[in-house]
Point group: C3
Chain length 326, copies 3
């Protein structure tokens, strides 16, 4: 899949990657087109396998070149080439930086200029609004005072962007409202803790927000590392919600104040989440799930389930254990 916002280097060959990882070069220096997750990789992309949870995706992956560690190498199908490294994710970060040298840092966009309303159709714009490069804004949108739209933002028709908002690297559907003070599209909190210094990894993902969505005040929504952070159509987020990189929230969800999502969790449709609940990373929450306020979710939740508690459990058990079921 073409990356809309981050520029990819096109002449990477396998020996560039092997050199970077301090591994012996190969004879046949084949061209590698991209680095991608298992389910999105094409034939000539390099992908990676770092958890048994992704065994299904590994089997179905179109990638012919898999980065993994000794421990997981037995699972790689025979017809794929393998690169074995000690630290898979650190190697992924290095290779991603090789393909996308600009995605590592998140320095402010100096190209910003005061908005020229003539360039947009029926744009209702406040004072001191700044726009960067590669911005598209649909019809009948409004942008509040002091809002900063850095490079790589596509906004569809009928959207309302509040005041003091900061947007970058995001795609926003129709009739979506982004309320005051929200910060959308900065790099995620991803890095490798080093004994001498933390190593940041590049975030080449986007924040993709659907139609009829509401993003509350002072929300922080980080863009994805390799894949995108996604907020589905009709989903409403209250104030002070935090959404980490790669999280994918379904349609028509209701997320109340101060809820937090750790990275890479997948939330179904019609999910309701009470205030201050926290969702751990890399979980799968089904459709029509209800999560009580204050809950701490640390396991997957099947569809059509109500949970509450820390750790979150079936709400009947929570109420019974706390003698609240009278």
């Amino acid at each position: 899949m073409k990356n809309l916002f981050f520029k990819k280097k096109n002449n990477i060959r396998i020996n560039d990657i092997l050199t970077l990882l301090k591994i012996k070069k190969q004879k046949e220096n084949i061209k590698i087109k991209n680095i991608s997750e298992l389910d999105q990789a094409m034939k000539n992309d390099i992908s990676f396998f770092h958890s048994i949870n992704y065994l299904d995706k590994l089997k179905k992956s179109k990638s012919n070149l898999i980065l993994t560690s000794k421990r997981y190498s037995q699972h790689i199908p025979k017809n794929k080439k393998i690169i074995v490294v000690k630290n898979i994710l650190l190697s992924v970060a290095k290779i991603t930086s090789l393909f996308y040298p600009d995605a590592l840092d998140d320095i402010f966009d100096k190209s910003l200029e005061p908005v020229k309303t003539k360039l947009f159709k029926k744009l209702n714009v406040g004072r001191n609004v700044l726009l960067g490069k590669n911005i598209r804004i649909g019809k009948n949108c409004s942008i509040g005072h002091n809002t900063i739209i850095e490079k790589n933002v596509y906004i569809s028709d009928d959207c309302q962007i509040g005041c003091n908002v900061i947007l970058k690297n995001c795609i926003i559907g129709k009739n979506t409202h982004i309320l005051d003070g929200a910060i959308v599209g900065k790099k995620g909190f991803g890095f490798f803790p080093g004994k001498l210094k933390n190593i940041r990894y590049p975030h080449i993902g986007t924040v993709v927000i659907g139609n009829n969505v509401e993003i509350g005040c002072n929300n922080t929504i980080d863009r994805g590392s390799l894949s995108n952070t996604v907020i589905g159509d009709g989903t409403f987020l209250d104030n002070q919600v935090h959404i980490a990189h790669n999280v994918k929230i379904g349609k028509n969800c209701i997320v109340t104040g101060q809820v937090g999502f750790a990275g890479s969790s997948i939330i179904g449709n019609n999910v309701m989440i009470g205030g201050q609940a926290g969702i751990s990373g890399h979980l799968t929450i089904g459709d029509n799930v209800q999560i009580g306020g204050g809950s701490g979710v640390i396991k997957n939740i099947p569809s059509n389930t109500k949970v509450m508690g820390y750790p979150a459990k079936n709400i009947r058990n929570f109420l019974k254990e706390n003698k609240l079921n009278e």
Copy 2:
């Protein structure tokens, strides 16, 4: 009670309401003055009864016209007229929009202009401060850089408003401090989840902040839907506190960092709340209550009680159960 900030339509008659709700018109097309909660409604206002918790208020209400559902209709006193609907709150939202057509949306205030200090007495004002219409500012106030005061804000004497603050639809008492980045008076997170699309309901309430109050950095305080959101005299809020619509906090309360209040809860006087505690919606917390940090309060708490835990319980039980009472 007259609504100071949202303009009410004055020629609404009962058949306008019945038509809106797709109910058969009545012969006597009486005038309806307003839509109000049970305890604030006057004789010619329409009110509504949607929970057995409000039975007392129903009995005392001056309203002669009550909107309710079949289930609750038996409780309505004989001397009052009834309109029976399937979804009470959705009907309330529709009727409120009929009376207050401007209160639904929260688009940024385009009328804002740079502050003219000559209009105010001893106003100490930063750079890039914007003011909307219907603003009153008392003596000896200060307003920090980049702060946006949209329409409908009354600020009393000796107040300090920080930098990057956004205010709208609020009334602020004397000697109150609003710290950097706080957002006060936006519409609450209230809507009816629809299968096709969420229906927002109008927020015609105000945020009423008392004297000698401190509102911390990056706080979000939403205005009420029908009634007001209230912060009592002498109450101090730390950073990153979230207060949803209709919450009423008493006097001299101390609310530490990252605490969240869901909608419509009523908090007494001299209440102390530890960091990250959460208060569910529609609760009543008495006077002199102490709530430990991290607690999740899901039941009413009587006055003079100390609670802690999730769900919050008497602190002695919490300590005993967790073997912390040594």
Copy 3:
């Protein structure tokens, strides 16, 4: 230790202090140089003893004049003078205000002016950036749009400050990133609840941030009251983290989204804290500690320990009690 940012009065004598506290004057009206915590006080400073936890520091303190209450007066070494008061901390606040009359209030810095880039080496600066007095900025720094740097800020080389950031009273090490919307250096949430009115106490501390640190979006980090708030080298904070006054975080820590620290806790090196965890005040957390997401830490934690839960306990016990150890 000299206070870099708050101006100290130099002619305070013991009878000025006694008069302030409404205590009988002494014959020998000795000069008092400063008010300091036990471990930082010099010979001619006044210090205070208000908790048995600080007995060790009391014994080692160089101060010859200790403020305390009747209850604790027996612990004061014979060779030190004692001032006995009813409310120790309230008296400390009054004396601090006597030495530092400017540290009480946190009104916005009116001296701010648009940045003059000529004054700094290779400064990459956005639009509408405001700078106050007593600002130092090292080489190769960048400051994003709408950022406000009030007085008393020292920034070292190679730092990246984002957009909409507010800094004051802080010292920032090399190669540190402060992300969009962060607020660093405002006074802490410290005051004495009074029946008539809360009494604020002065905050004469600084926020000291090390090298290679990352401060996340919308973080709030308050400056210390008497001592400093400290973030060690290489520590990374995610979005929406709240750090109260006097907290000291060690080196190479990882603090994920929405974590909160109450005042005066001391965190070791290489500590990892999961999302939404809360750390109570006045605690000591050792080195290499791991705190699970959502935990509520209310006791000290020894080094090399993993904890989780509310209240936080050894993670093995948490998993066992919640039948999660399969």
